[in-house]
């Protein structure tokens, strides 16, 4: 019994060692930030394709969430942490997606319920994404967690 227990423990140690050796290479401080937002027109199947930053996906789930069937332009930007921020004129939300294996998983949906976003535009800033509503000049600082409250002096 003791012998088999020892054997099992040794096997576990060996397996853990093998696994830990295989995933030990980690590159840190990767900057995924996209310097400029992409303004993309969905095709008839509501698929957008950003050839420059090499990403292609359907916006149908987003439109469904917004209660719309179509949209003229989708605005897309990626922050330094690698999250995608997606919105469009007339949207109530900015959708924050985390990239996965063949998928984009909704990390957060930042609501702008009052007037919706009339003319949103993303700007890449050093530590956040700036969202400007060009219709009224309102600006917001965003990250994957939501709106960053500006520090008051």
């Amino acid at each position: 019994m003791i012998k088999s227990t020892i054997q099992a423990i040794l096997l576990c140690i060996l397996m853990i060692g093998t696994v830990s050796c295989g995933s030990s290479l980690v590159i840190e401080n990767v900057d995924y930030s996209q310097p400029l937002e992409s303004v993309l027109t969905p095709n008839s199947e509501n698929v957008i394709h950003d050839q420059r930053y090499a990403i292609k996906f359907s916006v149908s789930p987003i439109l469904e969430s917004e209660g719309r069937e179509t949209v003229n332009e989708i605005r897309l930007i990626r922050n330094s942490a690698g999250y995608y921020f997606v919105t469009a004129s007339g949207f109530q939300n900015v959708y924050v997606f985390a990239p996965g294996e063949g998928e984009l998983e909704l990390e957060n949906s930042i609501e702008f319920l009052e007037n919706n976003l009339q003319e949103p535009a993303f700007n890449q800033r050093s530590s956040y994404i700036e969202l400007v509503d060009l219709s009224d000049g309102e600006t917001y600082r965003l990250d994957q967690e939501g709106i960053i409250e500006e520090e008051t002096e």
Binding site: P35, L36, E37, R75, A121, N123, V132, L134
Partner: protein, 411 residues
């Protein structure tokens, strides 16, 4: 008043703040889009610019674009990658510089075309005036048959008019020659592109001038041998100039079919030469005939030379056979016309106009000397003196012999 100033100040501050704030709320995407739009517009403006003034405005716009977007270089570089803000501004400046060069060339060319047009207009206008004067003189000559003195004066004026016209046309040809002979292919190509705007180009002008010369030859009223010799020289100069610049002119101004244009002018030159020759040989024949010198028919320089030699040879033979006073008069008549008119008045023209060469004139002179020797009537005085001398000698001998025989009989 104080309240009003405060309100104004507040308005200015708010305006500045609003302006600054609006600028701060721009979209980066929009900035680079605006930049690209302005860049594309400037490229198009450069491409379409046709004046140096327009290009000067564009240069200001390029400077303004560079200044306005200089602070957004990072955004624009990111948007244009792999291009850069500096590179596109450099492209604009290079295109602008190239356009300035092209427009300057075009403007120079336009100026050149205008100048050419003006030259041609002046030439045509002056030539038309001369043509009118010539036609007027011809009319007056026809009308003045009753008054010989007046007709002679009009004919003199008419000939001077033609001479002046020849000189004017020669100067025009000289200008064309110096202008187009020195042009390189590129310059000619540039003129070709702009020459379509000319109502009448130099090839048309040359064609018209030759046609007018042909008409003038067909109506050669009151003209004499020297006028035709002068016209022959004018034709020779025309041919010389045409051979030198004809190809350049036709390829420049008749680019669609330069060979045909050249062939047309060649044909006209040939017709002109034929009409000059017909008039020249007929007038020369008439001039000799009017001085009682009947030459064989001739229609070329060689035939004219042969006719002169045939005439002298025949007259020489007659002189050898007859040696009469009448033959001597024929010699004197020919010698006088030959020396006083042909050689003195026309000699230089004949040589320049390829009617007779210096050697041919010298050969005629030599034959004339021989003819003179044979034509001069021989004197009998020598023979009489010889007879008298022989008679005197015989007389003296007889006298001597008679005296000798007398003295012998006395001893």
């Amino acid at each position: 008043m104080n309240t009003f100033v405060k309100q104004i100040s507040l308005f200015i501050v708010l305006s500045l703040f609003t302006g600054y704030s609006a600028f701060g709320q721009q979209s980066d995407y929009q900035i680079q889009q605006d930049f690209q739009t302005e860049y594309t517009e400037l490229l198009e403006r450069i491409e379409q610019a046709v004046t140096t003034e327009a290009l000067a405005e564009i240069e200001d716009a390029i400077n303004e674009l560079e200044t306005n977007y200089n602070e957004h270089t990072d955004i624009i570089n990111a948007a244009l990658y792999p291009e850069t803000f500096d590179n596109v501004i450099r492209t604009l400046r290079n295109n602008h510089a190239e356009a300035v060069e092209n427009v300057t060339t075009i403007e120079d060319l336009n100026e050149e075309i205008s100048s050419l047009e003006s030259e041609l207009d002046n030439f045509r206008s002056r030539l038309e005036t001369m043509n009118r004067e010539t036609a007027d003189l011809q009319q007056k000559i026809r009308e003045s048959t009753q008054n010989e003195a007046r007709q002679a004066a009009l004919i003199r004026q008419y000939r001077e008019n033609i001479e002046e016209r020849n000189l004017f046309v020669s100067n025009f040809l000289g200008d064309l020659l110096s202008e187009y002979q020195s042009m390189d292919r590129a310059q000619r190509q540039e003129i070709t592109e702009a020459a379509g705007r000319l109502e009448e180009n130099p090839v048309d002008v040359i064609q018209n001038v030759i046609n007018e010369y042909i008409t003038m030859m067909e109506q050669a009223e009151g003209l004499e041998t020297p006028d035709f010799v002068s016209m022959k020289a004018q034709h020779g100069y025309f041919v010389e100039v045409w051979n030198q610049i004809g190809e350049q002119l036709t390829t420049t101004f008749m680019p669609d079919n330069p060979e045909q244009a050249r062939a047309n002018i060649d044909q006209l030159l040939s017709n002109w030469q034929e009409s000059i020759s017909t008039n020249l040989w007929a007038s020369l024949q008439a001039a000799f005939s009017e001085n009682d010198i009947q030459l064989n028919e001739f229609s070329s320089s060689d035939e004219f030379n042969d006719a002169l030699h045939n005439y002298i040879d025949s007259a020489y033979e007659v002189s050898v056979d007859a040696n009469s006073e009448e033959d001597y008069q024929v010699y004197r008549n020919f010698n006088s016309f030959w020396n006083d008119t042909v050689k003195t008045e026309w000699g230089e023209m004949f040589i320049e106009g390829d009617i007779l060469t210096q050697a041919q004139i010298a050969a005629v002179d030599l034959k004339l000397d021989n003819w003179r020797d044979e034509a001069t009537p021989k004197s009998n005085l020598t023979f009489i003196l010889l007879i008298v001398s022989v008679a005197v000698i015989i007389g003296l001998i007889v006298l001597l012999l008679t005296r000798k025989s007398d003295s012998g009989s006395k001893t």
